[in-house]
């Protein structure tokens, strides 16, 4: 009796193992493949007539979490897995760069992120108590946006940073416009309009 049971268990084990196929390392030769050329940026969308805002909402990556409407003079760059989207704003022979990124979680909290941005334009860290006075808040389309506007200091004196931090579900989205102070100042209003156009898709 016990013998047959043992046989049975051996059979069962064999069957169980049979179900698990082991993958093997293989090697083969193929015709040489050239590395892909960097992909050219798509042509900017034609400026919409009569309106400062390009009409087409921009859909973002796989998650499709947020969409927005960007001014026509902001040139969209191909997105990467690093960034959800990138825009270049040209003027006075200089360029400002708007980067849009998303991270899981709250990535250290609002204070740490605001201080990281401040560091990028040569400003010192804030304390938790100072934070409220150095940020603005508004709600749009069911989203809560924390907005900062920091003119640069020291080595970054000619720079200005406009930023927004937007919690979306379990992620945090960062919108950062960094560039020459004059150019960023001119685009400030457009940037605020742009922020108001952000919505969940």
């Amino acid at each position: 009796m016990s013998a047959s049971r043992r046989t049975l268990s051996v059979v069962a084990c064999t069957l169980l193992l049979g179900g698990c196929r082991d993958a093997k390392i293989t090697s083969y030769r193929v015709p040489h493949e050239a590395d892909p050329a960097p992909v050219a940026a798509p042509a900017p969308a034609a400026a919409a007539t009569g309106s400062a805002m390009a009409a087409t909402p921009v859909a973002t990556t796989a998650g499709m979490a947020l969409t927005w409407t960007a001014p026509a003079n902001w040139q969209s760059k191909p997105a990467t897995t690093m960034r959800k989207a990138t825009y270049t704003i040209a003027g006075d022979g200089a360029e400002a760069d708007l980067s849009i990124t998303a991270f899981p979680g709250d990535v250290g909290g609002e204070l740490a992120n605001v201080n990281r941005w401040r560091g990028q334009v040569g400003l010192g860290d804030l304390t938790a108590a100072q934070l409220a006075g150095a940020t603005q808040h508004f709600d749009a389309n069911g989203l809560h946006l924390t907005v900062v506007d920091y003119p640069g200091q020291g080595a970054a004196a000619a720079q200005r940073l406009l930023g927004a931090i937007v919690p979306v579900g379990s992620e945090t989205w960062f919108f950062k416009l960094l560039g020459p102070a004059a150019l960023v100042g001119r685009e400030r209003e457009a940037f605020m309009e742009f922020l108001k156009s952000i919505r969940k898709s």
């Binding site: 007539t49 009569g50 389309n141 069911g142 579900g169 969940k200």
Partner: protein, 617 residues
């Protein structure tokens, strides 16, 4: 006397059917029916405005009947005309279904303020639209399967209000008082506005009123172009794609940019003016003119539109539901009184009902250019139709009213289910690319759905066996034996169709995306039905079950089929949120529980059954 009575019932049923098919008369002097037959493009299909009116009403208030505050009853198309052209009036019609107590509280509505305690006018709650939209936006962030009851109701009402507003912006600008004259003078208004704006920019004195005027009109046009959901402007003659209809708003925005205004926006503005001002003669002439401009180019759409509006007003499936109930009662009566007469009358009514639903399904097929089953709604129609066809055959052979009772109840229930499924909008939808194959829709889908109807029928016959045998003494040996044979025959039939249908589905999958079987929920549902029917057959062949066991197995087949039909559609985001708040899920579990209760009943020893106890004693 009895014979005459039976003839009278049949004639009555026939007369009702014929009456429903008569062309509808215009309720007043306005040719609203002519207006209702004009085609518009919505959700990819050219459909008559009459269909838009009816499907919208079903969607927002679950019924097609409208009553004005002063008590007049409106046809759907009259309601739609008021929505288009007399918004201040149509906002006061109580056509929004609001049933949720928390939502009513949010909108500060009392039940007693509503028509039938549950239908309210937009004017009654438009003050609170801001709150509604805020709550609905919040609910949007919750996955639909885990929303609470009030969240579902909130989102639903918000969507209904949006739908209503979109239709309202489709043909005319609801916010412009002098819409027609604005359009007639549009070119002058536009030029004056542009000149004034130029002057203003140049710092010269300018006509502020002219700027104001063109701005107001421009904003109204923009609203229309953003909101309109009906595409009512046909492409210009000779355009490459005759289906590239546009919205009036889009046409108006082009006009704002300097292009020609076109005839259609003007014609609809004229209709609006004449409807508002009660000028039937001019209204009718405009309808004729619009019709004339389209009829030769869209002859097919008008032919179908004429049939579709007639089909809409006849409501054959609603009538079928009523007649099914009648047949069911007559047949039940024949058991109580055991009269041949009632039995034959019931059989006649079942036959008439079946012919009526056959005609309804054929009409839908012709309108869509598709096989009978294309979506859940049409599957409900077809399941009922197929089961009733089998019932007719059974009744023809056995003449014991069992077939008629089954036909009455199954016909009624499936048409009721279909009615509830129709509340989500137009039931003739376009087929997604992957499903766009009439050959496979006609073979695989029809075979599988036939399998559903047969499995349900077997289950229902078994139900009759158990209920009649347990609660009454009327299940004599002859009836019991014939029920036994019927269930067996229907299970065989069900096995054939579900098996062939399922395997055909595999072949379709192999043809379309290269794998015969992918274990996806819908495939699994069909497979389970096949397996269950195979179990019934093998259990019977192996002598593992006798009559009573067969009946219990067949009743369980009801649960299996209901799960495959509806349950797999509810497998949404995850088990943790298996849509417990969903009404469909509630009905599915209730149904399953009731069937289990009947199986429990059927498992009680025969000595407890009234029929067999008397037979034994």
């Amino acid at each position: 006397m009895k014979k005459h009575l039976s003839l009278l019932v049949l004639l009555g049923a026939l007369a009702t059917i014929v009456y429903s098919l008569l062309p509808t008369k215009n309720p007043g002097q306005f040719d609203v029916n002519g207006f209702g037959r004009l085609p518009v493009l919505l959700n990819g299909r050219l459909k008559p405005l009459d269909t838009v009116a009816r499907t919208t009403l079903l969607q927002i208030q679950n019924t097609q009947s409208v009553r004005t505050p002063d008590g007049r009853s409106l046809q759907p198309i009259e309601w739609l005309l008021d929505v288009f052209f007399v918004p201040e009036l149509s906002d006061s019609y109580q056509v929004f279904l609001i049933d949720d107590p928390d939502l009513l509280a949010l909108l500060n509505l009392r039940r007693s303020d509503g028509r039938g305690n549950r239908r309210f006018a937009l004017a009654q709650f438009d003050k609170y639209l801001g709150d509604l939209s805020k709550q609905a936006n919040a609910a949007d962030n919750v996955e639909s399967a885990v929303r609470t009851r009030v969240q579902r109701a909130t989102v639903q009402l918000r969507d209904n209000v949006v739908l209503y507003r979109r239709i309202q912006h489709s043909l005319a600008a609801p916010d412009l008082k002098d819409y027609l004259s604005d359009l007639l003078n549009f070119s002058a208004i536009r030029t004056a506005g542009a000149q004034a704006e130029m002057a203003k920019r140049a710092g010269q004195p300018s006509d502020a009123a002219a700027i104001e005027k063109i701005t107001t009109i421009g904003m109204a046009f923009q609203d229309m172009s953003e909101w309109a959901n009906l595409a009512a402007v046909p492409p210009p003659e000779g355009a490459p794609d005759p289906n590239a209809w546009r919205t009036v708003g889009a046409q108006l925005m082009d006009a704002l940019g300097g292009q020609a205004l076109g005839a259609t926006p003007l014609a609809f503005a004229g209709l609006g003016q004449t409807w508002r001002n009660s000028q039937p003669k001019e209204f009718n002439e405009l309808v004729t003119r619009i019709r004339g401009s389209l009829e030769s180019r869209y002859a097919d759409a008008f032919d179908r539109g004429a049939v579709e509006t007639r089909f809409n007003s006849a409501q054959p499936f609603y009538l079928g539901m009523v007649l099914s109930a009648l047949a069911g009662f007559l047949a039940l009566g024949s058991w109580v009184g055991s009269t041949q007469q009632l039995q034959r009358t019931a059989f006649g009514v079942v036959g008439l009902t079946w012919l009526l639903t056959t005609a309804g399904i054929l009409t839908r097929m012709w309108l869509e250019g598709r096989p009978p089953v294309t979506n859940l709604y049409s599957s409900a129609l077809y399941v009922g139709w197929g089961a009733v066809a089998l019932c007719l055959a059974l009744e023809y052979f056995y003449k014991n009213a069992v077939g008629s009772v089954a036909a009455g109840v199954i016909g009624f229930v499936t048409l009721l289910i279909a009615h509830h499924l129709s509340l989500t909008g137009d039931t003739m939808e376009m087929m997604r690319a992957v499903l766009d194959s009439n050959f496979w829709l006609a073979t695989h889908v029809v075979a599988v759905t036939t399998g559903y109807s047969a499995t349900f029928l077997a289950g229902f016959l078994a139900l009759i066996y158990i209920l009649r045998g347990f609660f009454t003494s009327s299940l004599d040996k002859g009836t019991a034996d014939s029920l036994n044979r019927m269930v067996y025959a229907i299970v065989c039939f069900a096995t054939l169709f579900s098996l062939v249908g399922t395997v055909l589905g595999g072949i379709w999958a192999d043809q379309s995306w290269g794998r015969f079987w992918g274990w996806d929920p819908k495939e699994n549902g069909a497979l389970i039905i096949v397996l269950w029917n195979a179990i019934i057959l093998h259990a019977r062949w192996g002598g593992m079950v006798k009559a009573r066991g067969l009946m219990n197995l067949a009743v369980f087949g009801n649960i299996v089929t209901a799960w495959s039909w509806f349950g797999v559609n509810m497998l949404g985001v995850g088990l943790h949120s298996y849509g417990f708040t969903d009404a469909a899920f509630f009905w599915l579990t209730t149904f399953a529980a009731s069937q289990l209760a009947i199986i429990a009943l059927g498992s009680l020893p025969l000595t407890k059954w009234r029929s067999f106890r008397t037979a034994a004693g």
